[in-house]
Symmetry: C2
């Protein structure tokens, strides 16, 4: 339900939602297949350190925890009331949460607006707003914060700690991001599935993320935008990069979005979101992969790129050409090395065998050693005319991928204070996957294909332009 402005009381409460000192699970169940069981189990198993109170009318212990018949029976304060009940029972639980003085309510139950029960959903929203109890959901998969070992919902993964705040209107896509985090070390600062976003919408999570010290980049998957004014307000104000994947462009996709999270896109004319996003400085991703690629790079380099002088250093001509083409497709063609820095050309020649190529991409040849990589990376890092470095590893039978990874990490560590963007690409087999994970663990955005790495670098450049525009206002 629409809001006109970002509400301060909601933003404050979201601090409790994502860093709760105590949680009550209303609808906790002894049945291990129920959400109300899973939630309690996963909070415990992922290591949640706060107080945990199952609530169930039977009052029987669940997973060894003392269970309460009603929220009001809990003898201590409750920050977060997680409600997993049949739709028609949610209203009573919200009354209890208000009475108990909970800071925030999270409703996972479905069968509201997405199945035609818009009135019921709206009633809950009005009630919660009257009583200043922020409501997250309903029809949501969960939320959490890896910095607090806090994983609350229907979620099989707790992501790795990292810089991206992930706000998703879709549970399944949130899960995809969390799964990618587990598998490929895409680092996340907090995550939330908005579900039907009856009350709390994107805008207030953006305002919360703006204040959250762990969040460096705000990433949103969006099906419908109920409150464009509040969204514009929040995104215009934030000092952090914002990347949005807005879906429902297709006709059948818009219908599916309605059935999925009751998202109405009918009102927005074509181009409405593009214009809105441009006005408030939001970067728009097209595909899911691009969304992850852009937000990862921006999470590590939240001040973007100082200019468009990117040097690519590779041992594989093919990865270089794929990158050139993609840079140009994305509107940021690579400059030649001699145009950006004639002295760099000479220094690069010293870092490569005679049959290498000091164009840009700098091709240090298929036989490149870790020492050559280190020298080439260092030259580029130390040249004041270079704004970003894209390193690429294409393993031949003589390529020492772990040693080149070490070299990249050493150069990054030695120069990271200057904030020059350093992005890596490793295309190949298992050892490349391991290199990507190790690089990410050291704070270097690393990718498996040339185009993904370019998506990351171009996002930094595009964000710099947004920053400059924001600052000139």
């Amino acid at each position: 339900m629409k809001v006109d402005h970002v509400r301060d009381y909601v933003v404050q409460s979201l601090g409790y939602a994502l860093n709760p000192r105590s949680i009550a699970v209303v609808g906790a169940s002894q049945n291990p297949t129920k959400v109300g069981h899973k939630v309690v189990e996963e909070l415990r198993d992922w290591g949640y350190q706060g107080e945990l109170y199952p609530v169930n009318p039977k009052g029987e212990p669940i997973l060894g925890l003392q269970t309460y018949r009603r929220l009001q029976d809990i003898p201590c304060d409750v920050d977060l009331a997680f409600i997993s009940l049949p739709a028609l029972k949610v209203e009573d639980a919200l009354h209890d949460a208000v009475e108990k003085g909970c800071k925030v309510a999270v409703v996972s139950s479905s069968a509201f607006k997405e199945v035609g029960r818009g009135d019921l959903q709206d009633e809950l929203t009005v009630y919660c707003r009257e009583h200043k109890l922020p409501l997250i959901g309903p029809n949501l998969v969960g939320l959490g914060n890896p910095y607090r070992s806090f994983n609350c919902g229907f979620l099989p993964y707790l992501p790795l700690k990292g810089p991206v705040g992930m706000i998703s209107q879709s549970g399944s896509n949130l899960l995809a991001a969390l799964g990618t985090s587990q598998r490929e070390h895409y680092g996340i600062s907090f995550f939330v599935g908005l579900g039907n976003k009856a009350d709390v919408d994107f805008s207030e999570f953006v305002a919360y993320a703006d204040q959250d010290p762990n969040t460096k980049c705000i990433a949103m998957y969006m099906e419908g935008l109920d409150s464009p004014e509040a969204f514009e307000e929040a995104c215009s104000k934030t000092h952090k990069p914002v990347v949005v994947l807005k879906v429902g462009r297709s006709q059948i996709g818009a219908k599916a979005a309605m059935a999925h999270t009751a998202s109405e896109n009918n009102a927005s004319t074509p181009g409405f979101c593009d214009q809105l996003f441009r006005r408030c400085g939001v970067l728009r991703a097209t595909t899911w992969q691009e969304f992850l690629d852009m937000s990862l790079a921006l999470g590590h380099y939240p001040s973007g790129l100082k200019g468009d002088h990117v040097v690519m250093i590779t041992n594989g001509g093919g990865s270089g050409i794929l990158s050139c083409d993609h840079f140009e497709r994305k509107g940021m063609p690579l400059c030649e090395l001699r145009e950006m820095s004639p002295t760099l050309v000479e220094k690069m020649r010293e870092a490569m065998p005679s049959f290498g190529s000091p164009l840009n991409p700098v091709d240090i040849s298929g036989t490149a050693t870790p020492e050559m990589y280190e020298k080439a990376f260092t030259c580029a890092m130390e040249d004041p005319n270079v704004h970003g470095i894209l390193g690429s590893i294409c393993p031949t039978a003589v390529t020492n991928v772990p040693a080149i990874t070490d070299a990249a990490i050493r150069v990054y560590e030695a120069h990271k204070d200057q904030g020059k963007a350093f992005i890596m690409e490793c295309q190949g087999g298992q050892e490349c996957q391991e290199a990507i994970i190790r690089l990410r663990d050291h704070g270097i955005p690393a990718y498996a294909t040339a185009e993904q790495a370019v998506n990351g670098m171009v996002a930094l450049y595009d964000y710099s332009k947004i920053l400059a525009e924001k600052q000139s206002r």
Copy 2:
């Protein structure tokens, strides 16, 4: 160097190049860091079953194998002469190969046209053509055939057996494909790096692939096309789908392509390749990932899709909407279920809980069981109005990914004779990666993102249109 037509003697010899009974490695070395050592070592280590003859002027044994001073000293027939010598010594080795009666010469040595020695390279080509000794390379990384445990070159991986014939002008990108094969079970029938393609070019490999029983789809990474007429001839004639990733569209990329594999793109006007590819029925990929996605699907469904009635079945609304949008972006919007088959709507309702959605995508809900998936897949498989099925798994905490994977494999096995396209998407963590690998091992194209799966399905549809056009000629 240009050819006007596909040469039959070359196509015949490529059978020996990719299924050699005996190999001589000219320039074999005792020094384990040299290509001439790696080649022998890897042929042996990957299990090559044919005869292997190192050739080295010193004649000392290499890796325990008897070594010959000259090619002519080998007492048996040699199918493939692999030449790894300094550029200026290659000509003599080719003379020896002609004298010995080798079927084909593969030259890995670099420092030819890519460093300005075009004349030297042309001399070799003219000599080989006069003597009908097909020359693959120079400046190439290797070639191989997993169906023969044959891995010949500078390559750290032997790919998994599968349907895609991979012809790459770039070594590093060939390695990326082989690494992906190792890591994600992208199946390959044969592979070759063309390098500078002084003599043998894409066209004759296409003609070979057309005859190769293991190859179901022909995939090519291309930097420059020297012989467009022969290419058009080969692609027009083949009965197999052809996917090409043609790079060098960017100005700086074209320069890099020249430095890399001496590829000249200057002569081709913008749109030249698009027109050529359209005329001869070649599908064009834009990014590396799309190239792999398309070729994988076509490798498993080389007769394409009978129509555009694709049903998507998912437990995650989000993956469904990403797919809808991407189908529409790719020019193949999804139809609604009731438009393609009213009876299917009713059958699908029976396969899902009441809060599921029988639109298209069919959202069988986040709590979907393996039984629901199996029923939904089977309904779609058995409905004659459905041409393709896109199944999607988005794991929540209650999703049994291995059991759903089993269900998908069962349905596929029970119906595979009818050739209806069945593609899977699994978005999430490690268990999804394992599911993708297991599905691929059973012959089902499976992907990690919605857009990748859609790229696969749309490629099938686009190829059907090409097939229809070819047949109507």
